[in-house]
């Protein structure tokens, strides 16, 4: 049986198409991307935050995006400036994000809990988040879901989603055809309604109900008319994933 983390990673990996470039950060995104590379998307281009482009690590997973394994079989050993500029110039289609808080429009907070001036908890900060959120065509957000994380109002807007609705990104001057694409939690997969740009349930993991969706959110979540259950991880997916992280650094 797959655990929550494994299910989330496998579901994320399925979202990555062939022949696209994905900007890869540490942890679940790294595992999801390398899993896609090792299953359905052998030509997926991994652009590692640390500077590697096209690396196809073999054997155990590089647990951090700055590790030398992310350069294995790759094209370029660059700098973060290099890979960031690829996103800035519009070369990167997919990116992963996480956060301590998310709101119904997919805006994210990774900066502080509480007031910025006098924070209750200081978080790590944007990292590459603000940029990825601004510049990638489709961002995939992976995070745990509960009422404290799915909030009505962020304590700080680090990485922009759709701001306050369908016009938000254009008004802010962000590139067209960019924005949050999916949110993956332990409960299900969410998209953003084309009309309202509000978070909408698309798929549930088996074992969860529509009630769980709402019970674990401080904002109302619409449910797509044709929502469905997510196909459970195949034996191959699970086996490949576990071979990438044999010590259970991420998936344990």
């Amino acid at each position: 049986m797959a655990n929550d983390t494994e299910k989330m990673i496998i579901t994320a990996s399925r979202l990555l198409p062939q022949d696209t470039a994905v900007y890869v950060g540490t942890g679940m995104p790294l595992l999801a991307s390398v899993l896609a590379l090792n299953t359905h998307a052998p030509d997926l281009l991994l652009v590692y935050e640390g500077g590697g482009v096209g690396g196809k690590p073999t054997g155990r997973l590089p647990i951090q995006v700055s590790e030398s394994l992310t350069y294995e079989n790759g094209v370029t050993v660059g700098s973060m400036d290099y890979v960031m500029s690829l996103a800035q110039a519009g070369w990167i289609q997919y990116g992963f994000l996480g956060g301590a808080q998310i709101d119904q429009y997919g805006n994210l907070n990774t900066t502080v809990i509480g007031d910025w001036e006098k924070p209750k908890v200081r978080l790590p900060g944007s990292g590459g988040g603000a940029d990825i959120a601004s510049l990638c065509e489709r961002t995939i957000i992976i995070m745990g879901q509960d009422k404290r994380k799915f909030v009505e109002r962020l304590d700080f807007l680090t990485s922009p989603g759709y701001f306050d609705g369908p016009e938000g990104r254009a008004k802010a001057g962000l590139p067209a055809n960019t924005g949050p694409y999916r949110v993956i939690t332990q409960i299900g997969v969410y998209g953003f309604d084309e009309e309202t740009r509000k978070m909408t349930l698309l798929h549930l993991f088996e074992g969860y109900t529509l009630e769980d969706v709402q019970a674990n959110s401080s904002f109302p979540i619409a449910v797509s008319e044709d929502w469905s259950y997510i196909e459970p991880p195949s034996a191959e997916e699970l086996e490949t994933l576990r071979s990438l992280d044999p010590d259970g650094v991420v998936i344990a």
């Binding site: 540490t26 942890g27 935050e49 640390g50 500077g51 590697g52 647990i63 951090q64 700055s66 590790e67 030398s68 992310t70 350069y71 050993v77 660059g78 700098s79 973060m80 400036d81 960031m84 996103a87 800035q88 110039a89 900066t111 910025w116 001036e117 006098k118 924070p119 209750k120 908890v121 200081r122 978080l123 790590p124 900060g125 944007s126 990292g127 590459g128 988040g129 603000a130 940029d131 959120a133 601004s134 510049l135 700080f156 807007l157 680090t158 990485s159 922009p160 701001f163 938000g168 990104r169 802010a172 001057g173 962000l174 650094v249 991420v250």
Partner: protein, 267 residues
Amino acid sequence: MLSKQINLREAASNVSDGALLALGGNALHRSPIAFVHELIRQGKKNLSVIKTAGALDVDLLAAANSLDSVYGGYIGFEMFGLAQNYRKGVQKQEIVAHEHACASVIAGLRASIYGVPFQPINGFQGSELPELTGQVKYVDCPFTGKRTAVVPALRPDYTVIHVNIADEKGNAYIEGAVFEDLIMARAAEKVIVTAEKVISSESWAVRPQVPGFLVESVVLAEQGASPGSCAPFYSIDKKALLDYLKNPEEYLEEVREAGVHVQHTSG
């Protein structure tokens, strides 16, 4: 040409209290930890740090009360958790977080290497980051009229990078990911290189990426990024890192008692 090689103590003693330091490496990788240890041993005060993604380096300076402010994109221990001492320092308002993203730190450094006071940047439209510490403003492009975010030049007093190999002239070679080290080394007033190996400038088998004329001094510091990694020589020392996160005071005590750089490992 005189050799630029000096020892760690001399090199760190050139850094004044209140200095603005750019630290090379990224997160737990190839950061100049031995140099940070020496700064702590020398009881430096009121330092500010520029770093795209900081971890142990920034947190150590926070724990030692040596840190006034950070221009950083991300400060944390990646999958090992939050940077607890930095976090507490900011929460107690003892440390100022000049709110940046990795890319805006880099853009600010890039302004310095091109000798200009600012850089335009794409990707800051909409975040609340900009307004809060004045690190981002807007200008209208005089050619297109487009409202464009710009960040100010970041010009460190010192850049300190840890490299795989250096020579006595300051030429330096990094294996694998260079991170922002090459930009930092050109953006600063002065540059200090610490190195796993110091060789003669006649005996290079690879081509160094940092030309020596940019470098003020070179320091031999074996295991100088430990307990972080320095590929391909050594990986992260997880036990030492977890010990630090559990008991930073004890770690600091060991650093101070050592008196000089020791090859720091948990083993």
